[in-house]
């Protein structure tokens, strides 16, 4: 960008018309019908910060076309803040980049005012600079917004996963965990960790893993299960697998899966009964 264009741009951004730029920016936003801002003063503050950062960058000679350079890092950070807060509030991608794009009109207006009567090529150069700058900022905002949304979705998925694998204390020293659905890696991992943690916390010697909710057991599923049991035993506790349906029993035998001495029971009730015995409880039923 030529020095004179840089100077003009700097002057324009620093000039007393700054408030006017901000006002027109907010007006432009309202006009474009974007989602009402949480509070106009917050939006205005963001806009003001952004304008300041851009002005500082341009003054130190930063080129709009090379937005990835360190000179623009302060600007990028502010754009990221704008993006992240909107992503968290559920604003759309269009609304988020729209915030930045609305800066074009007021800047074009100022450019026209200042370069009126001057040779047209200078006005064109200025418009081009402004356009490039605002576009780059809008692109950056979009990319950051995207990343933010992905991170939020990732966290929500994790929380959902946790919710679907509760560990229950059935009795003093006996824990149970119902496994639901196919034992795909990430869920099994969470279950393992959660169960093992609870075993340590409660000092429970026995864990009942109920697979009633598991549709099929193949070698991969069996492997995951065996690993969980191995870890439980390494820690000094033991395990019973319950909810083994006849079809699953057949599959296990057909596939030649070695259960390595894990006790399996058809129902949770049978498993609990065995567990209580193992832990040393005897129950007597008094005649009513």
């Amino acid at each position: 960008m030529s020095q004179s264009a840089a100077d003009s741009l700097t002057q324009m951004l620093e000039s007393v018309d700054r408030d006017e730029i901000l006002r027109e920016w907010m007006e432009q936003l309202a006009e474009s019908g974007s989602k009402p801002q949480p509070s106009t003063s917050a939006a205005r503050a963001e806009a003001s910060d952004l304008l300041t950062a851009v002005t500082t960058a341009v003054r130190s000679g930063a080129e709009p076309g090379q937005f990835e350079l360190p000179m623009w890092s302060a600007t990028r950070e502010i754009l990221e803040t704008i993006s992240n807060s909107r992503a968290a509030q559920g604003a759309s991608a269009a609304e988020t980049s729209g915030f930045v794009l609305a800066l074009k009109k007021p800047l074009f207006g100022q450019a026209q005012k200042r370069l009126k009567g001057v040779e047209p090529s200078r006005l064109v150069e200025m418009i081009w600079l402004v356009s490039t700058l605002v576009d780059k900022m809008a692109q950056w905002t979009s990319t950051t917004y995207q990343r933010s949304r992905e991170a939020i979705i990732g966290r929500q998925q994790e929380e959902l996963l946790e919710l679907s694998t509760p560990v229950i204390k059935l009795w003093e020293g006996i824990l149970a965990v119902p496994m639901i659905g196919t034992l795909d890696s990430s869920r099994t991992q969470l279950v393992m960790e959660s169960l093992l943690q609870k075993i340590v916390e409660t000092g429970s010697e026995l864990a009942i893993i109920d697979i009633t909710g598991v549709p099929t057991v193949d070698t991969l599923v069996a492997q995951h299960l065996l690993k969980t049991v191995a870890a439980i035993r390494l820690m000094g506790a033991d395990c019973i697998v319950s909810g083994v349906r006849p079809q699953i029993a057949q599959t296990i035998v057909q596939l030649g899966i070695d259960l390595q001495g894990i006790v399996t029971k058809a129902t949770l009730a049978d498993a609990l009964s065995l567990a209580l015995k193992k832990v040393g409880y005897t129950f007597t039923r008094s005649k009513s």
Partner: protein, 126 residues
Amino acid sequence: MERIPILRMGKCLLVTIQVDMEDRTALGLQDDLSSKIAATGATGVLIDISALEIVDSFIGRMLASISAIARVLGATTVVVGMQPAVAITLVELGLALEGVRTALNVERGIAMLASATEDDRGQPHA
């Protein structure tokens, strides 16, 4: 060289590993325990690893060795307090820790040692 202290409680030897051990420290522990079992005629060894955040194949093999050596010298070994993350990692690593008995905590470990009989050969692990 750092030496892990070994405490004596009746016929049992207690070891609490609280530091990130160098290989030589682990070997030193193995030597010291072997000597002490023989010297005291101990019938039980309890190794508390509840403070160990990392058990790699070297430490794992050390624990298995101690267990085997102790057995030859007539003592039962129990390793207690393995952290969940460590257990998961050991399984993934493929370290079976054959012949090493484990218990959830010191209390259970001592109970296990008390009920171990003299001619007990120790049940192999999973």
